[in-house]
């Protein structure tokens, strides 16, 4: 460029200094809203599009492992029992049905709501794959897929000639996942459920209040270990896909649910190894911090509600005031400065006897107050307090609504549906998760997969259907 054409620095467009550049940037809050943009996920690309997965899974644990892939864009073919579908459709809650139709042949047999969120965006076909006649379509599907997840007893698929040993011979890039109770070892034939996982892993032993306070080992009301273990399988699958990019080879993943749940015990097992101490349950309080727990208040926020979950249960508050100034403030608020005098040091108040005395004093103070009164008094004083929300309050929460965590979706088959699964798993600016549908009726995609994808004539599909093979 010749000298006279050069534009002086100060006349060039754009910021002139680092400070000006920073000043010109949009506020971070605004930036986040723009890049994540909840509600417009479908306009963005999906990270795993191009991946095809087979899901020979049942219940929650293994289906959810595959559902994670489908929410991220993988094409998933869920294979169910002919006419029946996944047993989870018939088990929960209380064998009651809220979704119709399950299948035109069984018009009065709907399905329960317990299986929602576990098979999102998947194509549903039926196949009795242990029958000799269905081996060919099964293998054909394997040739066209990147991987498979199954949950049968160890060795079952091997007996049916469809374990990793067999499938890697027809597709060396195949990633094979077995997810189940125990895996190989002394308890190889042991099946598992979430509650068994929580128990066998030692997790239930450290949940709930100690027996001294009338408590017992407690399992979580929902199947948190199913959801957790399923997600951990997905982590393994993503690593296996990356490994395959580098080596061109598939992998076999063997995933024991009870093994996975031990990870939730935190420092409990290492503690035993170091000192021989078995960790105790400490309920809604904390063994490391005090005050840092959940207390009960005397009055409900909804005294006239019909629902006992609101009328009687909306009384719990999480309170946190463990450092010295906060604890002092808390003691002043509850008019027990003597407690602060007695337990000035954190290491004194975190002791079991001290916690019993402090939480008792807190609950006595809250006995004539409602949950929201307690939260207001404490937060106004600069302390951390949060009501223990129920599902209705999660639904009403403006925070979740703004971020799209909980939202309404008109499911193409089942109609209006309140969803939280896909959108509760973190936001991704470029390739967010998305939900097209929650699940589909039994065999809904038989023609799409067998005819359109695998190329079988309609007459063959009808024949298989009549023979109860699909």
């Amino acid at each position: 460029m010749i000298e006279k054409e050069r534009i002086p620095m100060e006349e060039q467009p754009g910021p002139r200094s680092k400070e000006e550049l920073d000043a010109n940037k949009m506020p971070f809050e605004e930036y986040c809203r723009k890049v994540f943009d909840p509600g417009n996920e479908f306009e963005k690309p999906a990270a795993l599009s191009g991946v095809r997965w087979m899901s020979c899974t049942m219940y929650i644990f293994t289906p959810h492992a595959v559902s994670n892939l489908a929410e991220l864009g993988a094409e998933v073919v869920k294979i169910e029992m002919p006419r029946m579908g996944d047993p989870m459709k018939h088990t929960s809650p209380f064998n009651e049905c809220y979704y119709y139709p399950l299948h035109d042949e069984r018009p009065m047999t709907g399905q329960g709501i317990g299986c929602v969120n576990a098979n999102v965006n998947e194509y549903f076909i039926t196949m009795d794959y242990h029958r000799e006649e269905m081996k060919e379509p099964f293998y054909r599907l394997v040739r066209m897929s990147d991987g498979l997840t199954e949950c049968y007893r160890p060795g079952t698929f091997d007996r049916w000639k469809q374990s990793y040993r067999y499938l890697m011979e027809i597709n060396p890039r195949f990633i094979y996942v077995w997810g189940g109770g125990f895996g190989y070892g002394p308890k190889v034939f042991g099946g598992s459920y979430d509650i068994l996982g929580q128990s066998h892993a030692g997790l239930a032993s450290i949940t709930g209040f100690h027996e001294d306070f009338g408590g017992h080992p407690v399992k979580h009301t929902n199947w948190c270990i199913d959801w957790y273990s399923g997600t951990m399988i997905t982590v393994g699958v993503l690593a296996a896909l990356y490994w395959r990019r580098k080596t061109g080879l598939g992998t076999m993943i063997e995933f024991s649910q009870v093994q996975c749940a031990t990870r939730c015990c935190g420092y409990g097992v290492p503690l035993y190894g170091r000192f021989g101490i078995v960790r105790q349950r400490w309920g809604n309080w904390d063994t490391q911090l005090c005050v840092h727990g959940i207390i009960i208040c005397g009055k409900s926020d909804y005294p006239d509600a019909k629902n006992p979950q609101l009328r009687d249960e909306a009384r719990y508050v999480m309170v946190s005031a463990f450092n010295d100034p906060d604890f002092k403030e808390l003691c002043n608020i509850i008019k027990r400065p003597d407690l602060y005098e007695k337990y000035q040091k954190h290491k004194d108040r975190v002791e079991a006897e001290a916690q019993v005395e402090i939480y008792d004093a807190l609950e006595k103070w809250a006995a004539d107050k409602s949950r929201s009164e307690v939260v207001k008094i404490l937060t106004d004083a600069g302390l951390l307090a949060m009501p223990v929300y129920n599902d209705m309050e999660v639904y009403e929460s403006p925070h979740y609504r703004m971020r799209g965590t909980v939202r309404w979706q008109f499911d193409p088959i089942f109609g209006d549906q309140l969803v939280h699964s896909t959108y509760s798993c973190g936001l991704m600016s470029k390739t967010p998760r998305r939900k097209f549908w929650d699940f589909r009726p039994v065999g809904a995609d038989n023609v799409k997969i067998y005819h359109e994808m695998l190329g079988y004539p309609i007459s063959t599909i009808k024949e298989w259907y009549d023979k109860r093979l699909i």
Binding site: N95, D104, M108, D411, P412, A444, N446, Y465, I470
Partner: protein, 155 residues
């Protein structure tokens, strides 16, 4: 898992599903030989019975029964006078009454009642859209009515 009444007279196993029998006192009729048994269950445990009550009327029929010594010959749900029908009825949330729903809490249509009009094609395949107007015109009408009244909300 459920408790059973194994009738020794006819070797029929009458299954007592926990949903109905978890806390229950009354009389059940054997699906095999019509013997009436009194039982009292507390928290899923058989507290009293089964005791024979000849000549008395049963309160409920089992949902399902079979005969293991006879090749598992089964009495499926809904055989008149033997087993009761399985209607898949969900309960009203607090009062325990059966309850179909056609609209969500924000009054949008929802497919939660039975029977649904048949909508599957070859081998049970389904399309990707619930054509409410065509398949459930009365629900569609009701929805439009609700909309007119301003009862249909975003949240």
């Amino acid at each position: 898992m459920c408790d059973i009444i194994w009738c020794k007279k006819c070797n029929t196993v009458n299954y007592l599903d926990p949903f109905n029998f978890w806390n229950w006192e009354g009389k059940v009729k054997c699906a095999g030989c019509d013997t009436v048994y009194y039982i009292y269950m507390i928290q899923g445990q058989m507290y009293k019975g089964p005791e024979e009550r000849p000549g008395e009327e049963p309160d409920i029929l089992p949902l399902y029964a079979d005969q293991p010594l006879n090749g598992y010959e089964a009495f499926k749900p809904g055989i008149e006078g033997k087993t009761r029908p399985y209607n898949c009825l969900p309960r009203e949330i607090y009062l325990g009454k059966a309850d179909w729903r056609k609209f969500s809490i924000r009054n949008w249509p929802m497919r939660a009642w039975a029977p649904q009009p048949p909508s599957a094609g070859i081998a049970g395949s389904h399309g990707f859209k619930w054509d409410i107007e065509k398949l459930s015109p009365e629900v569609w009408e009701e929805f439009l009515e609700k909309k007119k009244k301003g009862e249909v909300r975003d949240w």
